[in-house]
Symmetry: C2
Subunit: 370 residues, 2 copies
Amino acid sequence: MARPFNFSAGPAVLPEPVLARAAAEMLDWHGSGMSVMEMSHRGREFGEIFAHAHDSFRRLMGVPANYKVLFMQGGGIGENAIVPLNLIGRTGKADFVVTGSWSAKSAKEASRYGNVQLVAPQAVDRPGQPRYVGIPDPATWNVRPDAAYLHLCGNETIDGVEFFDWPQPAALGAPDVPLVVDVSSHILSRPLSFEGVGLMFGGAQKNIGPAGLTIVVVREDLLGHALPVCPSAFDYATVAANGSMYNTPPTYAIYIAGLVFDWIDAQGGVQALAERNAAKAALLYACLDASGFYRNAVAPACRSRMNVPFFLADERLNDAFLTGAKEAGLLQLKGHKSVGGMRASLYNAMPLDGVHALVSYLQDFERRHA
Amino acid sequence: MARPFNFSAGPAVLPEPVLARAAAEMLDWHGSGMSVMEMSHRGREFGEIFAHAHDSFRRLMGVPANYKVLFMQGGGIGENAIVPLNLIGRTGKADFVVTGSWSAKSAKEASRYGNVQLVAPQAVDRPGQPRYVGIPDPATWNVRPDAAYLHLCGNETIDGVEFFDWPQPAALGAPDVPLVVDVSSHILSRPLSFEGVGLMFGGAQKNIGPAGLTIVVVREDLLGHALPVCPSAFDYATVAANGSMYNTPPTYAIYIAGLVFDWIDAQGGVQALAERNAAKAALLYACLDASGFYRNAVAPACRSRMNVPFFLADERLNDAFLTGAKEAGLLQLKGHKSVGGMRASLYNAMPLDGVHALVSYLQDFERRHA
């Protein structure tokens, strides 16, 4: 049976070969007589699984040698507190650029732990329009040279706004300020640069695997500045010193991540996925732009290749659209509750055929209801 | 092929029918066309899975109506900080009884957030003896009547010391002090009383499911006192108000937990497991006590039914013991690195046959090496 196409924003579609292999190995991993779920995290077998996932991730991401890769818990929302708990203490200040719901949430949470400033004016609500539709011009950002870091969200999962290059601290007049980038929803979708970056973090439940695993990549010189109230389990220096095993890591999620990394290799690596992702996104945006029936309001230069929010001109048709989509084998297209409308997430595991099927449905639905 | 018997302290053995069902449903849960890992946590399908796990847990545990059940991340070590971040603010003080490595670790972590006191003198190291071998007489405990809570570890996973009844705050001269009980390694192994209890917490990776899920049961009147530095994702009031979906929960682990709860029902419920667990532990302790070759040093009245640490009189035989055990299909018997020796964990999913097999091996190994 062909599986339907699942456009969920996360937890999200996983490659079918990964799921098939996980099912086949569920009761007995590689002749060990154990499920991966049943292994001590300190045993030889899980040690192999962990090392494979960790080493594959470093290689696929091109993580430079002076960064640690940490496998943690708590998700992106957890990191909204854990990042400042670890980093803001260096100077007591952190700057944020807000380009959507996630960066706004990150800034709010960080303000518990120090002095937080937005580097550009906040977007304001306009009646009938999505709030976040672009990136304020970096030339206008007011970054404090003594900020402990500058936070940005690489890809706004809800609003569909993506950075394709990180503005560089030196060019922003703040050469000593490391970037902190929330890459949750576009990690491994294309090569991501570490230039100027002090820390990247991402929840796994989009391009990597099951919810409950968070990956943090942190430059070594930023370790060791945690606030005294930072819980030990979330102190990057402690986690790094213990190889991500200070507390029991989410072992099964790490195993699935390792299988996904194998699948990425089998696809030709991150660059090959990047090309496929660009083609998928181009196909969908072209369809939306060619129609007066659908609308995506994000500025073309920063339209996300991973999450495409769109609206029907006549929102009374929303329910009919979703019902018909499900019947056509196109799942989880409903937009985030905070913005409404629709959203198609085109993560790595979404094949080009899925986008073709979506485009056909969009055109067919328009023909029937326009 | 018969699976070997897995005595890991956690992550630990799971019931084979649970693993078989998870494998069978991996690519398509109940005709949804999705793996559970691929479902939006806010969708109808995962909503059903969540409600089933949550409601089953409440019923199996007999959770009173005035307690919330929260599904969180971070494990027991995370909770060592999260509990005081949420509860210590009421009075600024918390008391701890230390009966092993875990309660000692909990007390140390809590001291970051307020005034922490041990209610009884610390156990001291004695040459050649395990440090923790019993529970100090509650009549001697010095509990402060204005402590925000009194913490105890219901079952010390490393040291094998278990409380079979909670000392009651009124009897301790502190009637207003709620108990906080770390039940990570004996949750659902037998009925646990909520009398006097303000909060119970446990990592899932012993009796419930995969690592990465933490369950917290908290009395409603204790919500809403979090310190300002408590991360939103770990603020019990926020988590409760959002039905454990303030951030993306560890969805697949919650699904497996629900399958384990079904299995517990199929075994006859918690009381039936309690009887089986008592029989399993009695069998193993009788074997150890009958021998001068093996030794468990814990006072008989508080010997854990879940985790049985033991030592060979001649520790030079440790490697031979472990190698032979593995050949006999008895896995993960090595003791925790901090105490050495051996440890057999007898969680719910360990069948009586596994303990019989272990006892046979113990007797055989002794015959061959005594």
